[in-house]
Structures are given as C-alpha cells and as structure tokens.
C-alpha cells in the first residue's frame, strides 16, 4: 500500500523535526524575561553618559558664568569666542598630537612586549605583572614621578651626563619635547594593559596556520608580517581605538608634569576646559567639553569603521 503524503504535511514534519518544540508565545516570554538583566547597564548608560552628554550639549549654547545668577541661551557665541581666543584650534591640535603620540607609543611598546611575553610560563607571567604595574598607578603619581625623573637635574639627565658631560636638557621645558614626553608618559602608563590584549590576540591564532607557514619555510619576520599581524586585526581595532580615544581625555598626567606648559605647549582640550572653568566661564567651558565629545565621535566612528573593514579583509 502506497501512502501518499502531501507536500505541505511533509514540510511541516521536517520543520517540526529541526525546530525546538517551543510554542511561539512561550519563546517570546523567555526573551522578554532576559531584558530585565539589561536594565542596570541601560540605567548606568543613561545616568552617567547620556544625561551628562545632553546637559553638556545644552549648556554649550548658554551664557553661563559665575558672574551672574542667570543662564541665558547665546547660540554659538561660546564657540565663536573660543575660536577667536585661539583656544579651540590650538588645544585641538595639541590634543590630537598628544593622542597620536600616546597611541603609537602604547601600541608599538605593547606589541613588542606581547611578542616577547607571548608564551605563558612562570618567567613571562612575572614580567607581564611587572609591566602591568604602571596601569595601576594613579596618573597623578605617575606624572609626578616622571616630572622628577625628567627634571634638568634629575636622574635621566644625570645618566646621560655620563656619556655627554654637563647634559641638562629641560625635557618638560622645551615646547616640542614636552609634548612628546607627556604623550610617552601616557603611553608608558597604559601599555601594560594593551600588552595583555595583544597577548590574548596572539594566543588565539590557530597554531596550525603558524606551523604550516613554518613548514613552508616562512621566517619569523615573515610569519609576523603575513600571518600574525593580519590575524591580530580585532586586537588592533580594540587597542588603537581605546588608546587614541582614551588620550583625548588626558588631564591628570599633564597637570602633574607641565600644567599645560611651557606656555601652552601641552595645553590639551581638558586643560583648556579647566582653565576656562576656573575663571567662572562655565558656558565656554561646557562648549569646549562638547567639542571633545564631537572630536571623539568624528575620529572614532570612521576609525572603527575602517579598522573593522580591515578585520573583514584579514
């Protein structure tokens, strides 16, 4: 006897076999139940990010000073004033240079350390911990330590003095070297953290790919350039974005070393914000803060987009 099965019934039976026997309503209920766990994260984001950002954005367009008890809308006056004073352009340029120096320093140092400390063994674990210690320092403490080390009469110049007698270069007193130095100090402080990310990235690369390249005769440099660097793309994305964007919020290290000087050579946006705020000019200070947020958005979004594309290609 031949049993004829309708195509419809057959499809339903097949789907039934591959789909968990969960009623549609019950599945939706399960999904909704998980939403409660998102509430803390959403609430924190709203309270500590969205609301301050919106408040800052609104206050950027107000005449808000310590000289008056009233606040009034003043359009773009704060931004025009900051531009006229030369603060906006100068502080933005200094901030970008500082961020780039810091980002390059962190990633170059961290990638080198990651390669050196890639294998997990007792000695490498000790060194990983040692290199991570600066991350735990207070940025102010780190700044004060480096200010003492870089003093013209400090230990670094004294060490150089063994080779070049009388060497007393003011590392933090020269406008070019000061900016480089504060960027490098930030890089030094945070590179331990970035190193761990690169180590994790290196260790997640499939060993068989590396071994195959060895069998094909690839040397160490070729393996690094052609296999590890492309496959580290997600780590590069994370580290480059985090280090670059993190440097835009620089303040404490600069305060502890140069206070924005000499002159205004290291006056990054946050130092300018502090300076305006200290004079009772809260509206212009808010406008500068808003500029930092915009700067981060303008740089971060294309950068992440580009780096993510690299990941896809890799």
């Amino acid at each position: 006897m031949v049993t004829v099965t309708s195509p419809t019934r057959h499809r339903a039976a097949t789907e039934g076999a591959s789909t968990p026997p969960v009623a549609g309503g019950r599945r939706g209920g399960t999904a909704r139940r998980w939403w409660w766990f998102a509430i803390p994260a959403v609430a924190l984001t709203i309270v500590f990010f969205a609301l301050p950002f919106l408040a800052n954005a609104a206050l950027s367009f107000t005449r808000w000073t310590g000289f008056s008890n009233t606040i009034s809308f003043n359009g773009l006056d704060n931004f025009i004033s900051l531009f006229r004073l030369g603060i906006l352009g100068h502080a933005t340029v200094v901030t970008v240079i500082y961020a780039v120096i810091s980002m390059i320093a962190q990633n170059v140092v961290a990638l080198s350390l990651a390669k050196a400390l890639q294998n997990t063994n007792r000695i490498n674990s000790v060194f990983r911990s040692i290199y991570f210690i600066p991350v735990l320092f207070s940025p102010l403490a780190a700044g004060y330590i480096w200010a003492a080390l870089l003093d013209p009469a400090g230990p670094i110049n004294q060490a150089i003095g063994f080779v070049i007698p009388g060497f007393d270069f003011p590392w933090l007193g020269n406008e070019v070297s000061a900016l480089i130095m504060v960027g490098l100090i930030d890089g030094w402080k945070m590179s331990g953290l970035v190193t761990l990310v690169y180590i994790a990235g290196l260790n997640s690369i499939n060993r068989s790919v590396v071994e195959a390249s060895v069998l094909d005769g690839a040397g160490g440099w070729r393996r690094f350039r052609s296999i590890e660097v492309p496959l580290l793309a997600p780590a590069f994305t994370f580290n480059i974005v985090v280090t670059l964007i993190g440097a835009f919020s620089a303040l404490d290290i600069i305060f502890a070393t140069t206070k924005g000087g000499p002159g205004d050579a290291t006056k990054v946006l946050n130092v300018a914000v502090y300076s305006q705020y200290g004079q009772g000019l809260y509206g212009t200070s808010s406008a500068l803060s808003f500029m930092i947020a915009l700067l981060v958005i303008v740089i971060a979004i294309p950068l992440i987009w580009w780096l993510r594309r690299r990941e896809v290609h890799a």
Partner: protein, 439 residues
C-alpha cells in the same frame, strides 16, 4: 536675539531634560541663596553649627581663632577642607552646583568676588564694626561701596628676595627698578652665580616680575586695574607698561640673567637657589617667607643672608594684595540663624578676637584696632613695605580675565611669544571676561 533668563538650578535641570526647549521658559530661584533678611544687630543665637569652607593649609593662628570663637560663643564651626592649591576652582565647582557653606574663606579681590557674583550672593556686612577700621576698605572685600568680606590678614606683599652675600660679592645693592636690575644682572653674572631664579614650572611666579612688582608704578589708587576693567586702558597698548614689563623679561632672558631651567623650575627650587646662594634674586610674594626660614640653618642665619625688598619699573613702589587665607564672607543660604552666627563669627574675629589672632599669626594687622606685633627679619622687611605710604594694591585685583596672565608670562619667559603677542592675547582674554561680566 531675544534672551531668556532662568535660575541656575532650573536651567541645569532643564538641560538634563531636554536640549533646547528647556531653555524657553523655566524660572527658578536665585542660585541657591536666600533673600530672607537677617538682622545683624540682633543677638546671635547659640548652639548653632555652621560650615566653613576653608583652605586646607590654614595656619594654626586661624585654626586657633575658629576654636576660640566656638568657646566664646557656644556655636560650632564645622570645617570643610578646600585644597589650597586649587581652592578657587574647587569652590567654583561646588558653588556652580548650588552648594553653599555658611561661612566662606575666599580671595577678596574685586575680580575674585565677581566670579561668585558676591553682590547678590553674599550678606552685606557694611553695618559691622570692623568696616570703618579696615586699611583695605575700598580696595578689597567691597563692591560698589558695600562690604561683603572681612580681611583679617595676612596681606601678601609682592617683592624680591635676595641673597645679601651674593650681592656683596658682586658689589651691588639690591635693585629696585628695571635699570638697576639689569645692571646688577651684569655684575652678578661675572661672579658665576645665576642672577635671577625664575620658577616657570609653577607658572604663577612668572607673573611676579613683569606684573605684580613691575606694575606698581602705574597702579596708584588702582588706576591701571580699574582702567582695564572699564575698557579705557588696554593691556596690549604697545607703549603701555604691561608690554614694557614683558619686554623686560625678554631682555633679561636674552642677556642670560635667568636660570637655565626657568621653564621647569618650581618656586620651592627658586627659593632654595636664593637660600643656597646659587642665585641672587627671585621674585615671589611675602607668603613665602616661612619657606626661607625652613631652608636656613637658623633664624639668625636667614636674617643675616636673605633680604626682601620692593621692585617696580622705575620708583621701587611696593605692591600688595589680600589673601584668600584669613578673608571671610557670609553666603546667603536662607537660614537666618546660620547667617547670623556666621556674621557673628566675623564680628567677633574682627573685634574681641583680633588682637590674639594678630599676635599668633605674626602679621601686620589689616584693622587699625590691633597693635602690630614685634616683627623681625624678613617679616619686618615685608611689613615695612606694606606700611609705606606709596604701597599700592596689586595691578591684578580688578583686571577681568587675569587668570590667563600666568601662562602668557611663561610663554614670554621661555621665548614662545614676544611681549606684544602675549599682551595681545591677554587683551583678548580680558575682553572675553569683560563681556562675560555684562549683566
């Protein structure tokens, strides 16, 4: 453009709620203060606790004064430490959020007072007894003839510390003006000692030479400062004194009169250089006198080797300025009992408690009801300058936007900027601040 005005708390709250619509019609209070009148002639209540925002480095003399008042009045003063090195910004931050103490220790210069809008936010103390006795009446602690602040002292005298032994070896007297300073620099350089120890690393000391001291000649009756505040005088006038003062710094730098590390040296290091005799001069206020005594082997040794003198462009006119330390204000909080007690503290501290404070603090009194204590050494040098007939209030006290001058003075010191360019930038900041102060 029509402009809408609201209270601070209202607008900040509204800003959180929405970006632009909130700016269109909210109204609020008066910034956290209260307008309830407090009768300063009525007896002060007892058993009340008031908060005092005070500098964390208040000297023992002031701390003793607070305790003495508590004992005398039966009231309690709860001290809230404000870090002394960032005090103005910390106070402004708390103030901007609507927080208020019952009693505030703060800088009484007209510009600093304006930054907290004191004419609206502070209690008018004009009816208190001390007002007629203050040597600083009219130049500090007051706005439009009304007294809001009580200045107990100490008052800073801006001058030049010098090493007597270094000067003797170079065969020069302590310079009092630009001409004699340049001559002294040449003579001292010949001895291998750094003539002038500058502390650009601390920023504020860089203002002393071209600003606080040099400008003394031009600020009799606060004429220069008030001229700048009114817009009649421009700080960037090419033939004006401020450009000349900054140009003097450039000249001295070019002549090799400064220490090599002028850009990074701190004021503590500058003090030590003069104490040690590795530098001849440094320009700092009299507040630093205790540091020189700490650096020396003994009081007598310091008195024998270190001097403190006046310096200005031509005439050697001393300048002075009131200090945040020992200057008190009563914010309007709306709590009349606490306002009355805070005013009572000021009344007591400026009358019955004042002589003891002056004796403890070893200062020249700012109120003529107290006798000057027997001062010696550097303290006597500073007192002599302060009490001289030609002493003038610091040129900065009325200049809007003065907070930017330090960084600009450092730019000139390290050669990043010419005197004229720095003055031009400063004028832009002054204009910004003048505009911000328009009601």
């Amino acid at each position: 453009m029509s402009r809408h005005h609201w209270g601070r708390a209202g607008v900040i709250t509204a800003a959180v709620g929405s970006l632009t619509l909130a700016l269109a019609g909210c109204s609020g209070g008066d910034g956290g203060g209260g307008d309830a009148a407090v009768d300063l002639s009525s007896p002060a209540p007892t058993g009340v606790t008031i908060t005092l925002w005070h500098a964390s480095n208040d000297p023992d003399a002031l701390l003793n004064l607070y305790k003495a008042y508590e004992k005398e009045s039966g009231n309690t003063i709860k001290l809230v430490d404000i870090p002394s090195d960032t005090a103005p910004t910390v106070v402004q931050t708390k103030w901007a959020t609507g927080e208020r103490p019952d009693l505030l220790e703060y800088n009484p210069s007209p510009q600093d007072m304006a930054q907290l809008n004191m004419s609206e936010n502070m209690l008018d103390l004009s009816s208190l007894e001390f007002v007629g006795d203050s040597a600083l009446s009219g130049v500090a602690g007051t706005i439009d003839g009304k007294t809001y602040g009580a200045i107990l002292g100490p008052v800073s005298v801006y001058g030049m510390y010098y090493n007597k032994d270094v000067l003797a070896k170079a065969g020069v007297d302590a310079p009092t003006n630009e001409e004699t300073l340049k001559a002294a620099c040449t003579a001292i350089k010949g001895t291998g000692v750094t003539p002038i120890s500058m502390a650009g690393g601390s920023e504020w000391p860089a203002m002393m030479l071209p600003g606080f001291t040099y400008m003394g000649d031009f600020n009799a009756d606060n004429a220069y400062g008030e001229g700048v505040a009114s817009g009649e005088t421009k700080v960037n006038d090419a033939s004006g004194p401020l450009v000349a003062g900054l140009q003097m710094v450039t000249d001295l730098k070019d002549a090799g009169c400064f220490n090599k590390d002028a850009a990074t040296q701190t004021f503590e290091q500058a003090e030590k250089a003069v104490s040690d005799g590795t530098a001849a001069f440094t320009f700092l206020p009299s507040d630093q006198i205790p540091d020189f005594y700490k650096n020396g082997a003994s009081t007598d040794a310091v008195d024998a080797s270190i001097g403190f003198g006046a310096f200005s462009a031509v005439k050697g006119v001393p300048s002075y300025g009131p200090n945040a330390q020992g200057s008190f204000f009563v914010p309007k909080t709306g709590d009349t009992d606490k306002e009355r007690v805070a005013a009572d503290f000021i009344d007591w501290a400026t009358t019955d408690g004042y002589q003891q404070f002056v004796d403890d603090a070893q200062i020249v009194p700012t109120l003529n009801t107290a006798d000057a204590s027997s001062l010696s050494g550097l303290y006597a040098d500073a007192a002599k300058l302060l009490q001289s007939d030609d002493a003038v209030i610091g040129f900065n006290s009325s200049i809007p936007g003065f907070g930017n001058f330090g960084g600009l003075a450092v730019k000139v010191l390290v050669g990043q900027s010419t005197a004229q360019d720095a003055a031009d930038s400063f004028q832009t900041f002054v204009d910004q601040a003048i505009d911000a102060q328009k009601k």
